[in-house]
């Protein structure tokens, strides 16, 4: 049997009632219960009373279970625009007034699809992880605060490890248009990226004298990684 968790601060039973003939098992949860039992594969979150609280619940659930769970959000018409900023947080939403048949079909479709959860596209190389869907970079598990150009430059270099690029090439491939800074801007960004990588990892970006830059894992870093993997 499919178990669907339901969060509704106002009236859980009203929401469950929508589904009473679906054959699912329903599990009412409250805002603190974000660590869901393994058998739960779907969640309905009612955001119509407190949108921010509902968002917090969704985040909490996602944090504990990234894959293998679908999130359906119930919202009011005026809340639609808020969702533009929250891609990836939910799988679908339904706008009030709710139509019983629509809700049931949407949930059914979502659950049917969840067998093939969409993978985030990721670049993982040594200690560096780049999520190209969400533009997040992390280094040894710690998120990095990057500007757009720093992120793009790092993504480009890390996508072609070991390959050397000249400043001009980087400028045209990464910046993609004439920028006030010219080729020297590449140096400025490389320096900033290295500073953000910190002493431990700044050698991920290597200068190739009188040619340009490349992304590479120096051998000592590889050794470190192997040592770490023993734990």
């Amino acid at each position: 049997m499919t178990t669907v968790a339901v969060y509704s601060p106002k009236n859980v039973n009203r929401v469950i009632d929508f589904y009473d003939d679906t054959g699912y098992e329903f599990l009412p949860i409250d805002a603190e219960e974000v660590t869901l039992p393994g058998q739960v594969t779907g969640v309905i979150v009612d955001a119509t009373t407190d949108f921010e609280q509902a968002v917090t619940v969704c985040r909490g659930i996602r944090k504990h279970r990234e894959n293998g769970i679908v999130l359906l959000l119930l919202i009011e018409r005026h809340q639609v625009k808020e969702l533009a900023l929250r891609e990836g947080m939910i799988d679908d939403f339904v706008v009030s007034p709710f139509d019983r048949a629509e809700l049931a079909v949407r949930l059914q479709h979502l659950l049917a699809r969840h067998g093939q959860p969409e993978e985030h596209s990721r670049i993982m190389i040594g200690p560096l992880m780049l999520d190209t869907d969400t533009y997040q970079a992390s280094l040894a598990g710690t998120p990095m605060d990057l500007t757009y150009m720093e992120y793009e430059l790092l993504r480009f270099l890390a996508s072609h490890p070991g390959k050397v690029f000249s400043r001009e090439t980087l400028l045209s491939r990464v910046w993609g248009y004439e920028y006030y800074g010219g080729a020297r801007t590449v140096d400025v960004h490389i320096r900033r990226l290295r500073a953000k990588l910190g002493e431990a990892y700044d050698s991920l970006i290597q200068t190739v004298r009188s040619v340009g830059y490349k992304f590479g894992l120096p051998s000592e870093l590889l050794d470190d990684l192997e040592e770490q993997s023993d734990f």
Partner: protein
């Protein structure tokens, strides 16, 4: 790459980072014509529309923006400048360009003025890089007295100012503003932070950010940081020397290894342009009444229009490169102070240099004499002209300048001159402590 695709990509980047890093507020920054930072704060819910359409506001509330009949303007955030602020993990900022309701650049926006000047530079195939040395004082906020009696490069064990400066450098680095050096300056409680060169637009943004970070870090420690050019009589004032270089793609056009001093002909023309227009741009690089109390003989600040390799009393200095690497060939312009509006100051300095370059102006002889101690008669004989000695004098030169008007545009030029004359008049009609002390009983 397609520009609209890049714009969409940048937009998505900002929206995603705000979501993923739980940003609660986004500050939209810009400056008025005098370079005073202004900001308004939006929430993530307003961000998408701010990026797409910008935020409309009443420009008449901002100094130098006002045109009562059509006062609404739009602040359009620049996603390239999106940065999470240090020590405030849920707050990010973006710099804005100000545009008119029809989307055309607003003439009163200093960032637009600099962008226009940089476009002209780019049309010549050149890019302009700047590295500033920002000087300032830490003072006790109640007594406005210095915190210490230290001096240049002093290393002492318990030095509140140096501790605050260290923290400031961390915060700057965290914001993505790279620091080259920082040290105690010559005056008591005077400090200096030198930023690594970036293109001029990024650097003007960086200076605005750095001033705020310096002030905030000090305020958190209960100390006042001031960029007032000359806060204490009898000691050094605070300058903001600018080290500059022009690049043609990868090549520093100021360097020429085959010449005697390593400087290219184009460097000579650029310096000649700076010297030729120095007087008329000073009102912009030194925009306050107090700025002119720094530009007096006897301290580190220049008072005369001349250039040299080693002479610290000269306006333009070409420091001897520590190595022959071409990026070390930089021209240092020593008049500006940290109270200037960097967007406008960079614009007029660059325009002056470019004028020299385009018209191939001849470089006057290098001056190695101490210009402070040289008698007036000797200086006159050598044709060494002083910099304007007051805001009023500087304004009179600026009013005559076609170069300044062309660079800043009519809107900014006229407002600036009006505003600064008014400031001069206000200053001039005040009775100072000095006058009371000197005349009240004696006369």
């Amino acid at each position: 790459m397609d520009p609209s695709k890049i714009h969409e990509d940048k937009r998505r980047f900002v929206l995603h980072v705000v979501e993923e890093r739980r940003i609660k507020f986004i500050q939209l920054w810009f400056t008025d014509v005098l370079g005073i930072p202004k900001s308004f704060q939006i929430t993530p819910a307003e961000l998408a529309s701010a990026l797409d359409e910008g935020m409309i506001f009443d420009g008449s509330a901002i100094d130098g923006f006002s045109r009562i009949q059509e006062s609404d303007v739009i602040a359009r955030p620049d996603p390239d400048s999106f940065t999470i602020l240090p020590n405030q993990p849920h707050v990010a900022r973006m710099f804005c360009d100000i545009v008119n309701l029809d989307g055309t650049p607003f003439d009163g926006c200093p960032r637009n003025v600099l962008k226009r000047t940089l476009e002209r530079t780019r049309a010549l195939g050149l890019t302009f890089f700047v590295s500033p040395e920002i000087e300032y004082f830490y003072l006790d906020p109640t007594t406005t007295k210095p915190l210490d009696e230290g001096s240049y490069f002093d290393l002492s064990l318990s030095d509140t100012g140096s501790e605050i400066r260290k923290e400031t450098v961390f915060a700057l680095e965290e914001t993505g503003i790279a620091v080259k050096y920082s040290h105690h300056e010559d005056g008591p409680s005077q400090h200096e932070i030198d930023l690594r060169a970036t293109d001029a637009l990024a650097m003007a943004d960086n200076i605005i950010t750095a001033r705020l970070i310096i002030s905030r870090t000090a305020a958190n420690a209960g100390v006042l940081a001031t960029f007032m050019p000359k806060p204490l009589a009898g000691v050094q004032g605070s300058g903001m020397h600018l080290h500059m270089a022009l690049f043609d793609a990868d090549e520093n056009i100021f360097a020429d290894s085959s010449s005697a001093d390593g400087l290219s002909k184009r460097a000579h023309h650029f310096i000649a342009g700076l010297l030729a227009h120095a007087g008329e741009i000073t009102a912009v690089t030194n925009q306050w009444v107090n700025s002119y109390k720094r530009l007096v003989p006897g301290y580190e600040a220049p008072a005369h229009i001349a250039w040299a390799h080693h002479n610290r009393s000269a306006l333009v200095r070409v420091p001897v490169a520590p190595s022959t690497r071409e990026e070390n060939y930089q021209v240092e312009y020593r008049a500006p102070d940290p109270g200037c509006n960097p967007y406008l100051a960079f614009s007029v300095i660059l325009a002056a240099g470019l004028d020299g370059l385009i018209n191939e102006l001849d470089l006057p002889r290098e001056r190695n004499e101490n210009l402070f101690t040289l008698p007036d008669s000797k200086r006159d004989a050598l044709d060494i002209i002083p910099l304007p000695s007051s805001l009023e004098e500087a304004l009179l030169l600026m009013e005559e300048s076609a170069l300044v008007r062309d660079t800043l545009g009519d809107h900014v030029t006229e407002w600036f001159i009006r505003n600064k004359h008014a400031e001069w008049d206000r200053y001039n009609t005040r009775i100072s402590q000095y006058e009371l002390g000197r005349y009240l009983r004696a006369l």
